[in-house]
Symmetry: C2
Subunit: 221 residues, 2 copies
DNA sequence: CGACCATTTGATATGGATCAAGCGATGTGG
DNA sequence: CCACATCGCTTGATCCATATCAAATGGTCG
């Protein structure tokens, strides 16, 4: 299930019964903000008063380790909600990957839309469970080989982009490397290997055509 | 914060105001079940009607990949609640590491204890956020070197065991290896390295004395 | 056109996996 | 109570996947 689908499902289950999607509901109660490439949205450790819905562009959540290494925990695409990965404080910093627009709203503002507090809690729970599943899937990727990680990443992106066949990668090789726990060189080499195996085509470095879905899926857990 | 503390905090926040801890509250509404070493508690994909509270022993949550590799997602110790890592179905299988006792109760049974449904939702949300944080920490471990992973694992266990200084490992080297994405040989070698560095002592293979906490912490993110 | 940045490609080094053997503790049958 | 089998752990030797170091290529923007 993609995040968009999850959000819709969550809105169904939680009483947005006017037929509107979660994102259009939230859009009405929040302000749209625009961020430029690499601009910080919030920092790790900040109070987590707000939730965010990606309208356009892509957001990365990351941590910097004491020795300077960077760990990218997630990428958020249009329709994804982020900022839920916390109770009192955010556990990651977030930045715009490229220029992007997000809807920002106070957690507490949700209460006025949902009929009764339990609906709000249910929505937050659904979103958190989604985030947990994403993290569990990420863990699964990280115990595998470089080929398996890259294939898994491409399949994940393809599932989320929803235009089956071709993926547009908004993020750099370095972003992907830091997400997969690999180096930029290994990511690049692995992509060329997959291209040589006819599993994918790379019309440009940020576009990936899935040529042999089965071959990729076989590399996946 | 340990899971026990988290559970207590959760019970405070969610209205178990008679001063009892979460686990003793749950104990009253669930049945105690005993499991033998390696006995399955539930399987991946099963309906997730129940929640579980560890009374004694240790439980592992894991997945088996298509090629037979095993991924241990978490260890649960006394005071920990597990089974929340899911909405409709469990995302992992769970087994008793050694013989253990758990309190089992229906999710829905929580409602009768909590005063009003929102309290229940809040409790579930707190537990889920805790699980999410655990997963995020796990991700952080998996992008690091073998030494860093093992050191991080020991520190995590020490924090949870709460008898600072000495850790009792209920799980085998294979369990640890599958949790850390390493081989059993590498886990073993890394532990002996840490022993040679005077960071730990190993009175027996399942007992670890933390001799130089700072050295371990320096290996940690 | 030229400078800059992202990406690819190449050569080499290395950490952890793999293959293999030895060791120690625990339990079982004689 | 001892001899032996078994299991979990450690240690050793070698191999390989990925990191590291280095350079070339390509794409973008002033």
């Amino acid at each position: 299930m993609t995040q968009i689908q999850a959000a819709h499902a969550a809105s169904q289950k939680t009483g947005f019964s006017d037929g509107s999607s979660l994102d259009s509901s939230l859009e009405m109660i929040g302000a749209v903000m625009n961020f430029r490439r690499n601009e910080e949205i919030y920092g790790e450790g900040e109070a987590a008063e707000y939730l965010y819905l990606v309208k356009t562009g892509c957001v990365r959540a990351y941590k910097i380790l004491s020795d300077g290494r960077r760990q990218v925990g997630a990428f958020y695409l249009p329709g994804d909600v982020f900022g839920i990965e916390a109770d009192a404080e955010h556990t990651h910093s977030t930045e715009a990957v490229g220029s992007c627009a997000v809807v920002v709203f106070k957690r507490s503002a949700l209460a006025s839309r949902a009929t009764g507090n339990s609906k709000l809690s249910q929505l937050l729970l659904d979103l958190t469970i989604n985030e947990l599943k994403r993290a569990q899937n990420h863990i699964l990727l990280l115990i595998q080989s470089a080929q398996e990680r890259v294939a898994g990443f491409l399949l994940e992106m393809a599932a989320r982009e929803r235009k089956s066949g071709e993926i547009n990668l908004p993020m750099s090789r370095q972003d992907i490397a830091d997400y997969l726990g690999l180096t930029i060189e290994t990511v690049s080499r692995t992509l060329t290997q997959l291209e040589n195996n006819r599993a994918i085509a790379l019309p440009s470095s940020r576009r990936v055509v899935l040529r042999n879905y089965g071959a990729l899926a076989r590399l996946n857990a």
